[in-house]
């Protein structure tokens, strides 16, 4: 089985390096095909491992020693247990389809080869992240996905740099840097958490750490939990580190589908699920995670209500769904979090790919006000997106219903009625904004000029979306087998509510979801309903993202820039540079003066030699005299 593990892990990096060979050449289709083929190999290997792993049989390899310094010893070790197998299959399925989709989407792009190299490198990093058997390997993958995300968001780095004042037209380069910096802040927290684990337990391997975590004091475990969660907050874009995700939409759409919806942003949830033995000991931190998750679920959904940008709406929806996952993870229902992660990966990636089709057809137009009536020209895309949106809204029998409903049920069963109400409202908002998007893009009257000539995507591009759409439909039916599979590793959890309560809950939840859909469909078929929010007076607040980006800009970025300017002009130039320059000047001047000694006359050299001898003798005598 080790063979399959290595294929699953290393096939993407081989593809990446192969595509990199063509990095400076014009577009070559072979890079797209080779990377997709290797991803297919990785996918097959992941499936084999998924079938193989069960009960006590897990695959665990130590590839080689990595760092051995004194008592510090880390192996390059990889583990495939039930949790990593699920993650591997989810990641490779979405990545493979996104690779093939990208061949069509990036067809006319100059950076075609470079793009595929980065995309495969991302998959490799993600596989390292989910397969590592220790926290340090996870951290390497964590940084790797961050780097690839930066490279891919800034794929169109040549676009001009516009300040975010003219939101949403920011440049990809700016967005990439923002994402990187935000993640760096969070990674510091995570790194400190890892240090704390090593400091106290002397090892970073999951099995050793989890076996001994109980020996630590509650205070230490709480700190570890908080610091690791700070890392998860950055990667999964939770409040207050959430602003980067919406701006990351400046990258190519398949990148948004793969990285900023299905895989990388869920790494934070994976970290919490993976460290469940730590969080099981600190329910207070778990409760905080759940509260923050519920807050983000409703907070992000509210921003999606009035946004005009196709991709940003879906990005806020991703944020909101990540909040749901954190609620489940925080309340101890780890398998439900993982289940929602998987279901979300399928329907959200296909939603993004559909948005990609629309943008491609509309010459990269992203404002949904300038679309409308596209269902006639893009029936397949419309169908797939409606299915994905229905799944997202949580309508029976699609995947989102099973996973999201379980989270609501968990909140109810844990008697966190406040969380439940928030999630319940969130479910309604989700349904509303999903179908607002569908209505404004595909139905209603045509709002684009005649110079645009929208067309349906290529058949093979649509063909890559269909498997994801099918998974978005049927994934929910695997709920039971999924639960028995992953609870081999994760704690068993089942929300205990009576059948009657369960049915009532389902009806109430479905009710608000269907209500949201109905509201959106009815109101938008009559025209634009956004005026309602304008009348409420919250439109500007919501469309400006609660002024949080502005707040960060004014209260953090600008003072920081001023501080940096001060440090540069005053500290660096006047103190550090001046000191260094002074030393150099003294040495230079003394050298310049001393040069006169070297006049080429042997006689005067001898005199200097004698002079030096006398000086040294005097020094010796003086020293002895002391």
């Amino acid at each position: 089985m080790e063979k399959y593990l290595y294929i699953a892990l290393f096939a993407p990096i081989v593809g990446s390096l192969f595509a990199a060979l063509f990095g400076d050449r014009p577009k070559n289709l072979i890079t797209g095909i080779a990377t997709s083929a290797l991803l297919f190999a990785s996918w097959v290997a992941s499936l084999v491992l998924l079938m193989y792993v069960d009960g006590d049989t897990i695959v665990h390899v130590r590839m080689m020693d990595w760092i051995a310094a004194g008592s510090f010893n880390i192996d390059f070790g990889f583990i495939v247990d039930q949790v990593s197998a699920i993650m591997m299959v989810t990641v490779t399925t979405v990545s493979m389809l996104v690779h093939i989709y990208s061949i069509g989407y990036m067809e006319h792009d100059k950076g075609f080869n470079r793009y595929f190299s980065y995309l495969s490198a991302f998959v490799f990093s993600m596989m390292v992240l989910v397969m590592s058997d220790n926290f340090l390997g996870l951290f390497i993958g964590w940084e790797g996905v961050g780097l690839c995300s930066w490279l891919l968001i800034s794929h169109w780095y040549h676009k001009p740099d516009v300040t975010p004042d003219i939101n949403p037209a920011i440049s990809p380069a700016w967005a990439a840097n923002e994402a990187f910096v935000m993640n760096r802040i969070a990674d510091l927290g995570m790194l400190l958490g890892i240090f704390l684990i090593y400091w106290n337990l002397g090892s970073l391997e999951y099995s050793i750490v989890f076996a001994n975590i109980g020996t630590l004091s509650t205070g230490t475990i709480t700190w570890i939990g908080i610091l690791l969660f700070i890392g998860a907050m950055g990667k999964s874009a939770q409040f207050p580190l959430h602003t980067w995700l919406a701006n990351a939409m400046e990258g190519p759409t398949p990148v948004s589908a793969l990285i900023h919806a299905a895989t990388m942003v869920t790494a934070g949830v994976y970290l919490i699920v993976r460290s469940h033995e730590i969080y099981a000991l600190i329910p207070n931190v778990g409760y905080f995670i759940a509260c923050l998750g519920a807050f983000v679920a409703i907070f992000a959904a509210s921003m999606a209500l009035v946004n005009m940008e196709l991709k940003r709406i879906i990005a806020y929806s991703t944020l909101s769904q990540l909040g749901y996952m954190f609620v489940a993870a925080g309340l101890g229902a780890y398998w439900i979090a993982l289940f929602h992660l998987m279901a979300h990966a399928f329907f959200k990636s296909v939603l993004f790919l559909g948005a990609g089709n629309v943008m491609h057809a509309m010459d990269d137009e992203r404002n949904i006000n300038k679309m409308g009536g596209l269902s006639k020209v893009m029936p397949w895309t419309m169908g797939i997106m409606v299915v994905a949106s229905t799944a997202l809204a949580g309508i029976w029998p699609l995947a989102g219903f099973f996973s999201k409903d379980k989270i609501l049920e968990t909140a109810f069963a844990e008697h966190n009625y406040f969380l439940w109400v928030m999630l319940w409202i969130g479910a309604g908002l989700t349904a509303y904004y999903s179908f607002r998007l569908i209505m404004m893009v595909f139905f209603g009257k045509k709002n684009y000029g005649d110079e645009k000539n929208p067309h349906e995507a290529y058949p093979y591009v649509l063909a890559t979306m269909i498997p994801l759409a099918i998974l978005a439909v049927i994934a929910g039916f695997f709920e039971h087998s999924f639960m028995t599979y992953v609870t081999e590793v994760l704690p068993e959890y089942y929300p205990h509510v009576s059948t009657f309560t369960f049915i009532v809950l389902v009806i109430i939840t479905m009710g608000i979801a269907l209500g949201g859909i109905a509201l959106a469909v009815v109101k938008f078929s009559k025209g634009n309903f956004d005026d309602f929010f304008k009348k409420l007076g919250v439109f500007n607040l919501l469309s400006n993202q609660y002024y949080i980006p502005k707040f960060y800009e004014e209260k953090i970025c600008k003072p920081y820039a001023a501080l940096s300017h001060f440090a540069w002009k005053k500290l660096d130039m006047k103190v550090v540079d001046a000191t260094v320059d002074f030393i150099a000047g003294v040495i230079y001047a003394s050298g310049d003066k001393a040069r006169k000694m070297q006049n080429g006359n042997l006689s005067s050299y001898l005199k200097w030699m004698v002079f030096g001898l006398i000086v040294m003798l005097l020094l010796a005598v003086f020293k002895i005299g002391m």
């Binding site: 006049n599 080429g600 042997l602 006689s603 001898l606 005199k607 004698v610």
Partner: protein
């Protein structure tokens, strides 16, 4: 009675004479002479101290220095003759070819 001090004073006087010669003289041949005086002043010091301590090491060093000085003079005079044939002078001030 001639004590160690007398020898060391003699050694110091000879060393000073040699040193002044090295500094003052412009003739390369005389520079060699001065160097010999320097070396032999040190030899006197060595031998005297060796005798004082009844330790043969100092005398061995004196012989060693004599041998080195002889070879040095042999090589040095050879170079000096070559220089004289080439330039017709052995004045130190004429040797400034390496001056930048």
């Amino acid at each position: 009675m001639i004590t160690l001090t007398h020898y060391l004073v003699l050694s110091a006087i000879l060393f000073t004479i040699g040193m002044v010669g090295v500094i003052r003289r412009k003739n390369l041949l005389l520079l060699f002479f001065s160097t010999e005086i320097l070396l032999n002043s040190v030899n006197i010091g060595f031998v005297a101290v060796a005798n004082y301590y009844n330790d043969l090491t100092g005398q061995m060093f004196a012989f060693f220095i004599i041998a080195v000085a002889a070879s040095e003079v042999a090589v040095g005079l050879g170079l000096l003759i070559l220089w004289y044939r080439k330039n017709g002078t052995i004045d130190l001030d004429s040797m400034q070819k390496l001056k930048g």
